[in-house]
């Protein structure tokens, strides 16, 4: 089956009314949950997973594609109107977009984000359709040692890129690997770390770990340090994009796409990096540097495009190598596995119909987002009026529901809460969650491939590095470790610049209040959560 035929067949599947409905539901739910500032795309995907349990695989993945793109998109609306990014990839959108909204150009900021996301999402999905089958054809030739090398690359980059220090990232990764080992060894049938408990004999369900770490952990974290107080919502104003706005936006859209897609495909910790690089690029190239920090439309257009392009880029290693490069991708891999599908080079051959339907629904999801989001902004604003107590009680309920639906077992619920406690502890002491999730899902794959390599080589460990591909990857690991520290410093520098700017703005504001009134005190707060 040719790639184009495959894609066309994918469209003929995804355009069936029933599947179109699933795509629509996915996009709406993904956006509605993604709009909420406390919930990132990984938690969105984990929480909405139970909805797909009883659907057939095609319907489930079409809905999933919608949730994924919708979740990525929802954050930009929030960051423009509230100045708090719903997900960490939207931080830079919050910088310029919120300033634009305050200057009465909210409609233009929302429009450039929406159209930019559509343009970038569509181009990146085209790139995905072209690149993925090719990568898969090359990847078929990879041996087990090469997969070990790729897994090691993912482990190190995810652990080093996310979180405050590499030690914390590696500790989190090791925790994920440990949880992955619990259960019955798939090759020899031996029980490992089960403490003789029958519940643990089958291992711990990945969904329970992800939901526990993300959702329950976040609920406990918020309960322990609940913030009160609304965030001033900027009303949507202005008339949308002017001719000048279009002229200033289209290049950043394309540049953002060009930056975001490749960044998404490499294990660099997800979409955050692409948005920061795009922002830095736009600032450098702009002829109106003085506008940056005060609502430059390029600073919304570029990063939003990069964000959505990298969302598509992440799917390339996920689908062709079975290699998740972000927590969201790891949870999606777990969803594939729950349908008995193992992403990898053979996926296009074995499950062509399903994968092309998934890719086709990404195109459809993009169109739905463009058509729906601008008219529905009012609805998303209403979602933000949900009181936090109800919101987090709801998150807890859905976490329990998803867990109970897996196996109707109250022991799983206890496990969920214990894992939530661990997630809370990790948040309290600055440990990133994502490496644990990546380790959890990639660990068993790495172990299996390592043992296969050594079985073939009859125990000679040099077999792990003698394959040319693997050797190149290990060199990349070293480069990535050095490079990630450099990129992190750059990002920190940009953060510092922006933070200083925000503080200067703060100082200009005089506290309101009459003679006897207590003026509300203000405090700067770094809203960048490592999700």
């Amino acid at each position: 089956m040719g790639d184009l035929t495959g894609l066309l067949e994918g469209f003929s599947t995804a355009l069936q009314p029933m599947y179109l409905l699933y795509a629509l539901i996915g996009v709406l739910l993904g956006t509605a949950v993604g709009v909420l500032p406390g919930i990132g795309p990984a938690m969105t995907v984990a929480l909405l997973l139970p909805l797909t349990y009883t659907l057939d695989a095609t319907a489930a993945f079409i809905m999933f594609a919608g949730i994924y793109y919708g979740g990525m998109y929802g954050g930009s609306t929030t960051s423009i109107l509230l100045n708090t990014p719903g997900e960490s990839a939207s931080i830079v959108t919050a910088l310029e977009g919120n300033k634009m909204a305050k200057a009465g150009r909210g409609a233009a900021a929302l429009a450039t984000a929406a159209i930019g996301s559509f343009v970038a999402g569509t181009i990146a999905t085209v790139a995905l359709s072209l690149v993925a089958p090719t990568v898969a054809r090359v990847a078929v030739q990879l041996g087990p040692a090469d997969y070990v090398a790729l897994a090691v690359l993912a482990f190190f980059t995810v652990a080093a890129m996310l979180g405050a220090s590499p030690a914390r990232g590696i500790a989190s990764l090791a925790l994920g690997l440990f949880i992955a080992v619990i259960g019955t060894d798939s090759l020899t049938g031996q029980q490992r770390f089960t403490l003789g408990l029958p519940t643990l004999a089958d291992g711990i369900d990945v969904v329970i770990v992800a939901v526990g770490f993300f959702a329950v952990g976040e609920a406990l974290h918020v309960a322990s340090r609940l913030r009160r107080g609304p965030i001033p919502l900027v009303p949507i104003s202005g008339k949308g994009m002017t001719r000048d706005d279009w002229k200033r936006s289209w290049k950043p859209w394309l540049r953002g796409t060009a930056i975001g897609f490749p960044i998404g495909t490499i294990p660099a910790g997800g979409a955050d990096l692409g948005t920061f690089l795009s922002y830095a690029t736009e600032r450098k190239l702009s002829k109106r540097k003085e506008e940056f920090g005060h609502g430059a439309i390029e600073g919304v257009a570029g990063p939003e495009a990069a964000n959505n392009a990298s969302a598509a880029g992440v799917l390339v290693p996920l689908l062709t190598l079975g290699l998740p490069t972000s927590a969201t991708a790891a949870i999606m891999l777990a969803a594939f596995q729950s349908y008995g599908i193992q992403p990898g080079p053979n996926l296009f051959a074995a499950e062509g119909e399903l994968i092309w339907a998934l890719i086709a629904s990404l195109y459809i999801g993009n169109v739905l987002l463009l058509v729906l989001n601008l008219p529905l902004v009012g609805v998303w604003v209403k979602v933000l009026q949900l009181p936090r107590p109800y919101l987090y009680a709801g998150i807890l309920t859905f976490a329990a529901l998803g867990t109970y639906a897996v196996g109707a077992s109250t022991e799983d619920l206890v496990l969920l809460f214990v894992l939530g406690g661990i997630g809370w502890a990790m948040r309290s002491y600055g440990f990133p969650i994502a490496p644990a999730i990546v380790g959890l899902i990639l660990g068993p794959i790495a172990e299996e491939q390592m043992r296969r390599t050594l079985a073939i080589s009859q125990g000679d460990p040099t077999a792990l590095v003698t394959s040319p591909f693997a050797a190149v990857v290990y060199v990349l690991v070293v480069l990535a470790l050095v490079g990630s520290q450099w990129l992190k410093r750059r990002q920190a520098r940009l953060d510092a610049v922006v933070f200083a700017q925000a503080q200067r703005d703060e100082e200009r504001l005089v506290p309101t209040g009459g003679t006897s009134a207590e003026g509300p005190s203000r405090k700067d707060h770094d809203s960048r959560g490592a999700r």
Binding site: L36, P37, L82, T84, R228, G229, P230, I231, P232, L233, V381, L384, Q385, L386, P387, R388, P389, L509, T512, G513, G514, T515, S516, A517, E518, G519, P520
Partner: protein, 130 residues
């Protein structure tokens, strides 16, 4: 004696403020403008922004009526409790609130601050329609 007015950045709130200003002028009493939020949601359309407050202050300054402005996060009980607390604290002679049409279901689910103030205020209540 003081007049307390519950302000929200909506038509009914502005109507209440205007009526309260007239009343304060007439009675020669100072005005206490109150705007609070429970602060439990990301966004609360009833909580005045900096711009709203500036607008209110301009209006108050222009009228020449002596006033106090209380703009803060309230306790978790919400709007009506904050108004009643202010009435008690200042032994107000009159409390002015703005009202709007509500569906019975809306009232059941979210309660009615206006109704609570009307029934529980120890002083006169002036309810102004937007």
């Amino acid at each position: 004696m003081t007049i307390v007015v519950g302000y929200v950045p909506k038509p009914e709130g502005r109507a209440a403020l205007v009526a309260a200003l007239e009343e304060a002028d007439l009675r020669g009493e100072p005005l206490h403008v109150l705007n609070t939020s429970k602060g439990d949601a990301y966004s609360d359309p009833g909580y005045a922004t900096e711009e709203d407050i500036a607008e209110v202050e301009a209006l108050l300054e222009e009228s020449g009526v002596p006033y106090e402005l209380e703009h803060r996060l309230g306790d978790r009980a919400g709007g009506a409790a904050d108004i009643l607390e202010a009435v008690e604290r200042l032994s107000a002679s009159l409390v002015v609130i703005g009202i709007r049409r509500r569906t019975p279901t809306g009232k059941l689910l979210f309660g009615s601050d206006a109704q609570t103030v009307l029934l529980q205020a120890p002083c006169q209540v002036l309810a102004v329609k937007a």
